[in-house]
């Protein structure tokens, strides 16, 4: 483990770029899921700019790692990243929420190249990710191992890398949904070690503190008792995020689905949104936040 300092510096610079893109989105419509989007930025930056297996020139590469954004209202964060990769037109970021735009209000697979899941109705993403991960296993099972592996490295047969990994980004409030736990049982039953769930644990849902609305704690123990491998990290510390992702990917072959619980701050990076625990901002709530961020991230 341990990552090159230069990589961390580069990724930190990227998070600023991604945040600026998010601000363009919010600014264009005076609306957006500012809180949950800003808490995700380090996670998606670490994923898309370093960790994921992807081809910047081909978003439809069949072996590309899959990302299921279960908390699909925060698709702004993904949009902000995909325009940097080049799969989406950056100059159209300001068409968010508009008719015919590739930047739909909630993630829409048909409208946006590079998305793996159309979401918006919470709690279903992990089940969908189960399907993707199981399909990978089933395809793998059908494909005979190469001759080299069978002859010289038989012990690697169950150990080599999957064709693709499936990542699922969940919200903490979303884990109130019973379906998340149905999916957690399923992933354990089918030993989906190619599935990595990342919970953006920003402690707030729309109405207020997640654990007051319906306590989800002890959260780590819940996942563990469902048979998952669990890591707990600071979701804004790129070093920890990268380490946990590497470890989760490296443990492929142990037969356990992986869950990274990322402790984050809702609205991270903009003190006005952090204090207001903004879920979806409109009008002045957005403009004041954008105004503050304008200075900090050099957004004009």
């Amino acid at each position: 483990m341990g990552h090159d300092e230069k990589l961390i510096k580069d990724l930190e610079a990227k998070t600023d770029v991604v945040r600026r893109n998010c601000l363009t989105i919010f600014d264009s419509t005076q609306m957006g899921h500012a809180g949950g989007t800003m808490s995700l930025i380090e996670l998606v930056t670490a994923l898309y700019f370093h960790h994921l297996k992807l081809d910047p020139n081909n978003c439809d590469w069949p072996e590309r790692d899959r990302v299921v954004l279960s908390k699909a209202h925060c698709c702004e964060a993904i949009y902000a990243v995909l325009v940097e990769i080049g799969w989406l037109p950056k100059d159209k970021l300001n068409t968010y929420y508009r008719y015919g735009s590739p930047f739909q209000g909630h993630a829409d697979r048909w409208a946006t190249p590079g998305l793996d899941y159309s979401g918006g109705s919470l709690g279903q993403g992990l089940s969908f990710a189960n399907g993707l991960a199981l399909a990978e296993k089933m395809h793998m099972q059908r494909k005979a191992p190469t001759e080299t592996i069978t002859r010289f490295m038989p012990r690697y047969i169950s150990k080599f890398n999957p064709t693709y990994r499936t990542y699922c980004i969940l919200g903490d409030g979303e884990c109130h949904e019973g379906q998340v736990w149905e999916a957690a049982m399923f992933a354990n039953k089918y030993r989906l070690d190619n599935l990595i769930a990342i919970v953006d644990y920003n402690k707030y849902s729309l109405e207020g503190p997640t654990n007051e609305i319906m306590p989800i704690e002890p959260f780590v123990d819940k996942w563990k008792s469902f048979g998952w491998w669990v890591a707990e990290v600071d979701g804004h510390d790129l070093r920890q995020v990268l380490d946990s992702l590497d470890l989760a990917a490296h443990l492929y072959g142990d037969g356990k689905p992986k869950c990274i619980i990322a402790h984050t701050v809702k609205g991270y990076g903009v003190s006005f949104w952090e204090e207001a625990h903004t879920h979806i901002g409109r009008g002045e709530e957005i403009t004041r936040g954008v105004e503050e961020a304008r200075k900090r991230y050099g957004y004009s």
Partner: protein, 332 residues
């Protein structure tokens, strides 16, 4: 019996379960991507799967929401997951999962859902809202076969079709054997079982059996009824409905389902917009079903809901009377 179409040969009643299993096995043999997704409710042709393709059986347990969204994920990677259960579980329990995870992206997931007014299990399982609940959903086909031959053909046809389908399997008494093995089943096409000029019964699923019996009764009264098998409820074969309206001028629909949102309503909309004619809808009125037995001389639920052959015959007479009144008013 009047002139029957050439693919029709009426035989003794025969349950459809075996034929459905046979069709499922044929489809699964042909297409290796078909995956049986179980919800602890069995599966057509399961012994074959267990013996020949155990890796193509995914058991989700009693967790229908997860099963539906998980199936969408399998379909996204090229598999054809088939979910089998009661309609109230696999469709209605997972209603939003079907909408959001499957239909929005038009993923190739098939549902084999069992429902109908008949049966001993009672109010929970004798479910009649399935057609109404699903007809409103974009991108979803609804197919409801009428007898064993059609069931076997339909289950294979929906596997060849690319897109989500709800195959409705009915809880009902065994239907008559109606179609010959060379019957050409086509998704989206109605089939005229018997020509007729006085009125038309448009039936779906088991009710085609009752429609054929009703037509026999009416023949004795010199009423010549056309019978249409509407096995695809969505998309509806509008042409067949319009033609029947123009040529016979009186329509009766028959379904083992709620008439609210069901086949009757679909036909009514088509008639009103294209070729208005008097219409009587036979099916379950706005109510739930309950436990009931089928005994030698009495079928409790058929009597309760009044949708047997005699009731259908009465509906045809009522429809003809309405047409008569309408014509009188127009002549005045």
């Amino acid at each position: 019996m009047g002139t029957l179409n050439k693919h029709v040969k009426i035989g003794e009643p025969l349950a459809t379960a075996d034929a459905l299993g046979r069709g499922m096995i044929k489809a699964a043999e042909k297409n290796q991507n078909i995956i049986a997704v179980l919800e602890d409710m069995g599966f057509p042709g399961l012994p074959w799967f267990a013996k020949n393709a155990p890796d193509r059986v995914i058991e989700c347990g009693i967790a229908e929401a997860n099963a539906a969204a998980m199936a969408a994920g399998l379909a996204a990677e090229g598999f054809i997951p088939v979910i089998n259960s009661f309609v109230f579980a696999c469709i209605c329990r997972a209603y939003n999962q079907i909408r959001q995870s499957i239909l929005v992206d038009r993923f190739n997931v098939k549902f084999i859902g069992r429902e109908g007014a008949w049966g001993e299990p009672g109010i929970s399982h004798n479910h009649v809202e399935g057609i109404g609940a699903t007809r409103v959903m974009p991108n979803l086909l609804i197919v409801n076969p009428a007898d064993a031959v059609e069931s076997e053909k339909a289950v294979q046809a929906i596997m060849d079709y690319i897109g989500p389908v709800f195959l409705r399997v009915e809880a009902s008494p065994p239907p008559l054997q109606i179609f010959t093995p060379d019957y050409p089943f086509d998704i989206g096409k109605a089939y005229t079982v018997k020509e007729g000029k006085d009125a038309t019964i448009i039936a779906t699923g088991y009710m085609l059996t009752e429609a054929i019996r009703a037509s026999d009764l009416l023949e004795k009264e010199k009423i010549d009824v056309r019978i249409i098998n509407m096995s695809t409820i969505k998309p509806l074969d509008d042409e067949a409905v319009i033609k029947a309206s123009e040529e016979t001028g009186a329509i009766v629909t028959a379904e083992n389902a709620s008439i609210i949102g069901g086949l009757g309503e679909a036909v009514a909309a088509c008639l009103c917009e294209n070729a208005p004619a008097p219409l009587v809808r036979v099916g379950v009125e706005d109510e739930f079903s309950q436990s009931g037995r089928i005994m030698k001389d009495v079928d409790e639920l058929k009597t309760h809901f009044a949708f047997g052959a005699e009731d259908l015959a009465a509906a045809v007479r009522e429809c003809l009377a309405r047409r008569e009144r309408l014509h009188k008013r127009m002549r005045r």
